[in-house]
């Protein structure tokens, strides 16, 4: 079920919230928790009920193993616990590997080794990347003795809680499970409903009004590049910038909707975005983009690999390996692998650069240059991320570098057209760029991502997430939400605009990962 669907907005969400609070008031706390779990399973099964068994098996397996590891925490025989952990991690990764990477592996084996292995197409179960990572983190922490003896139904809800189930944030047991038993009674707080509605409405608007509309510029251009069309300079930049904004507003819109929906139940999710395009370096970018994935990769891949403890060369190698895996996590394809490695290289370069040229936060020119350079590097990365093929990505990157020529339609040049032609500028039609409409849209989005506060900052007085790391930018517009009449109008208009854009339903980009 999609957050941006009629069934979710008009039926599923209101019914789930109402029944949750009724059970919380008139029945026991556990009844409300069980209801939320059942509703989450329904939400998951709506997509394809066949895969319900998969998530159930995964939950039971990991819960039992986690319990076992918890019991073994004080056992002197650490060897057994380690074996159990390894088995658990391998089982989880095997499940993910089979559903997500088997076809990719077989295709490449056949292509490069000349074999003829046949494998029926495997449908990727939705959310598998997310619930697998969450549970691997749980097992590792159980092994480290950092878990508690959690109630089974609480654990089930931790994994399946519908706002975060499909596309994150990747929640951690330490921040979720205590919330399920924090109080003995569920009280309906109007503030939770208001804050939840406000965040959800902003997210809906970002997704269906902004992301889906800017996608209309990006999608045809990327499709053309994948089919071998050489995009000219303006077309290539138009496509890559459009996608850069599409992805941000799509994914952060989803995250807002998730945080908003969870808040309606009085549950806070971790922040997943903190204005990533305001980043002044790639290191900074990864602290702001898909923050819960970065946290997972840092705590469960980078640090166990040695982190920065074994010298700078090993540190750089660990960074590359972590980002390679991060790229592969996003999808079984060479473009994702290249994207991951590219960001690994970015991080290595950024680290080396920092040792020679420390960032001066007081120097505004320094900040502007660093922000622009970082942004361009990110845009280049998104081209690899979005293109279906390496050739398609290279075609767009060539266009961005000006290698496919420059086209400026005659109507924009007027009397300068003959001069432009003399210096090699073509004056024919731009097929994959929509002119001033697209330019205006892109400029407006630039202003939003660089100068406007993000949802978390707007909602800062209501502690909208479990994270506290969204320190507001010092020199930017300050907008603070308050449950006033004016805000009620603003939020309801955003919500209506979202509703009126619903009938061209599109899936969230991160569903595929």
């Amino acid at each position: 079920m999609l957050f941006n669907s009629y069934i979710f907005i008009f039926l599923f969400l209101p019914i789930t919230v109402i029944v949750f609070y009724l059970l919380g008031k008139y029945a026991r706390l556990n009844a409300a928790i069980i209801w939320l779990f059942v509703a989450s399973m329904f939400f998951y099964g709506w997509w394809n009920p066949i895969y319900l068994w998969l998530i159930v098996v995964s939950i039971v397996f990991n819960y039992v193993l986690g319990l076992f590891l918890y019991k073994l925490r004080e056992n002197v025989n650490k060897h057994l616990a380690k074996m159990m952990l390894i088995i658990g991690v391998i089982a989880n990764l095997s499940l993910l590997g089979y559903y997500k990477y088997a076809n990719f592996f077989v295709e490449n084996t056949n292509e490069y080794l000349g074999t003829d292995i046949q494998l029926a197409p495997i449908i990727l179960p939705i959310a598998i990347s997310f619930f697998t990572f969450q549970q691997i983190a749980y097992l590792v922490d159980a092994y480290r003795g950092e878990t508690e003896e959690y109630n089974f139904i609480h654990y089930c809800l931790f994994v399946t809680f519908f706002p975060q189930l499909i596309a994150g944030p990747i929640v951690h047991h330490k921040e979720m499970l205590p919330q399920f038993f924090a109080s003995k009674k569920i009280d309906l707080k109007v503030e939770n409903i208001i804050v939840g509605l406000a965040i959800f409405s902003i997210g809906l608007f970002k997704k269906v009004v902004i992301a889906d509309n800017i996608a209309l510029y990006a999608t045809p251009a990327f499709a053309a590049a994948d089919q071998g069309v050489a995009l000219s300079f303006i077309e290539a930049w138009g496509a890559s910038l459009s996608y850069t904004f599409q992805l941000y507003f799509d994914f952060s819109g989803y995250a807002d909707m998730a945080i908003g929906a969870a808040r309606m139940f009085g549950i806070k999710l971790p922040l997943n975005f903190n204005s990533p395009y305001k980043a002044n370096s790639i290191i900074d970018f990864w602290r702001r983009w898909h923050m819960t994935l970065s946290r997972f990769l840092r705590d469960y891949v980078y640090i166990p690999l040695g982190g920065n403890r074994n010298g700078k060369y090993r540190k750089h190698l660990n960074m590359l390996a972590t980002m390679f895996l991060g790229g592969l996590w996003h999808g079984a394809g060479w473009t994702f692998v290249c994207w991951g490695i590219l960001h690994g290289l970015y991080l290595v370069i950024n680290n080396i650069w920092r040792t020679f040229v420390p960032l001066d936060p007081k120097n505004i020119y320094n900040i502007i240059v660093m922000r622009v350079v970082t942004f361009v590097a990110i845009v280049v990365g998104w081209v690899l991320f979005r293109a279906e093929t390496i050739d398609g990505a290279m075609s767009i990157l060539s266009g961005m570098a000006g290698l496919n020529g420059l086209i400026i339609p005659e109507k924009y040049l007027g009397p300068l057209a003959p001069y432009a032609q003399n210096i090699g500028i073509e004056t024919t039609k731009l097929i994959y760029f929509s002119g001033f409409g697209q330019i205006l849209f892109l400029v407006a989005l630039f202003v939003i991502v660089w100068f406007a506060p993000n949802t978390q900052e707007i909602m800062s007085e209501y502690s909208s997430s479990t994270s506290n790391d969204s320190a507001s930018e010092k020199k930017q517009l300050k907008i603070n939400f308050r449950p006033t009449t004016v805000w009620a109008f603003i939020i309801s208009i955003l919500f209506v605009a979202g509703l009126l854009s619903l009938n061209s339903v599109s899936e969230f980009l991160y569903f595929q990962f």
Binding site: Y6, I7, V190, I193, I194, L197, Q227, G228, V229, P483, T484, T485, W487, A488, F489, I491, S492, I493, F495, V496, A497, L499, L500, S501, L502, N503, S504, V505
Partner: protein, 415 residues
Amino acid sequence: MRFLIIFCSVVLTCYLGVGIFNVIVDPYQQYEFVTVKNFNENKPTVSNHVRLYKADMVTRIKPQTIIIGNSRCDTGLSPNYLGWENKPVYNMSLPSATIYEIRRYVEHAHSVRPLKHIVLCLEDIMFASKKYNPGFSEDNLNLNVNGGKNWGAWLHRLSYMFSFGGTMDSIKTIRQQDEITAYSELGQRKYDWWLKKTNSWGGVHNLFNKVERSKMKGLLDAFKKDPDFLTRNSDQVGFEHYRSLLKTAYRDNIKLTIVITPSHARLEEIRRTFSPAIKSINAIVKDIIKINEQISSSMSKDAFIIYDFSGYNDFTTEKVPEKLSEDLMNWYWEVAHFKAELGDVILDRIFSKKTDVTSSDFGMKLTSENIQKHFSNKINARLKYQEEFAGDILELKQLVPAYFEEAIKQKYNTQ
């Protein structure tokens, strides 16, 4: 609480207000609660939402016979033809229809009321790699892809009334009342619509040229995207949907008449610029015949009749008026679309009615036995046409970009 009260009030007022306004204006002719002259009588935006409009309309007409194909059939074959045996008849053809869309719309119509007769118009391009066109939505159809009931279809069709797109089209409907609705009640594109289009392009000859150029561009784009788009065989995309459609018709005793529609000979000439690809165009026709015969035999039924009206004959080689002439043609609006007059000749042939205008092989019944001879006849007819209409051939040559011919040559020479 005040916040929630204002929020709910604004949302309900705006959302319902928009919906009620759009239902009243009814830009896609779905509800027809209110029809006011010079306000919403004409529905000019239907042309851009044909897939929604026809999916909805068929649920109200509840036809026993449907005509389905691309815009050629949507223009040329009349549901008002007197010889139809099972009425009501609805022309459910969709512009640029793909075989997948055709299959899904047949399933949709069949779920509304069991069909007795389908006239299926086919063209090789329908079997190309594109699965469906913009505007196609599974959610608008009564059956889902697995054959189960899509309970929310009517709700989804209603949802267009609660959308920005629907609102913009309502405003356009009110403002453009001087433009007529493109379709008749029974789904056929109107004579007046074509007449207006012809006049706006400065006559038939200009309209011919305009469509010829766009067809050339379409072929070139399709070729660029997928150089093999015309060289597919029955194992590849498209034919599985054709198979599924045939099986449904044989299983449910629906009479299916397959029609290969007649474009004007000038379009045949443009298409045959792909001279090496001609083999693959013929291969698609052969597959259409073969699959039909295979399925009929496996289900122990008489094979459905396949009529070929394409090629070079008295109708398709009708002379195109001169550039500045205001004359209309007898049989064609432009190079791709034949008129209802020719559609009636086709239907006469299907229903075996005598007609005073005949052409020896117009509407040849194709079987795997006679197909090769039929192709040979076409080649001869083509040579005769090229001799007789040398001026037209020369004019068409100028439309073909040199690089296009070169691309085709390269593609086929290198293979």
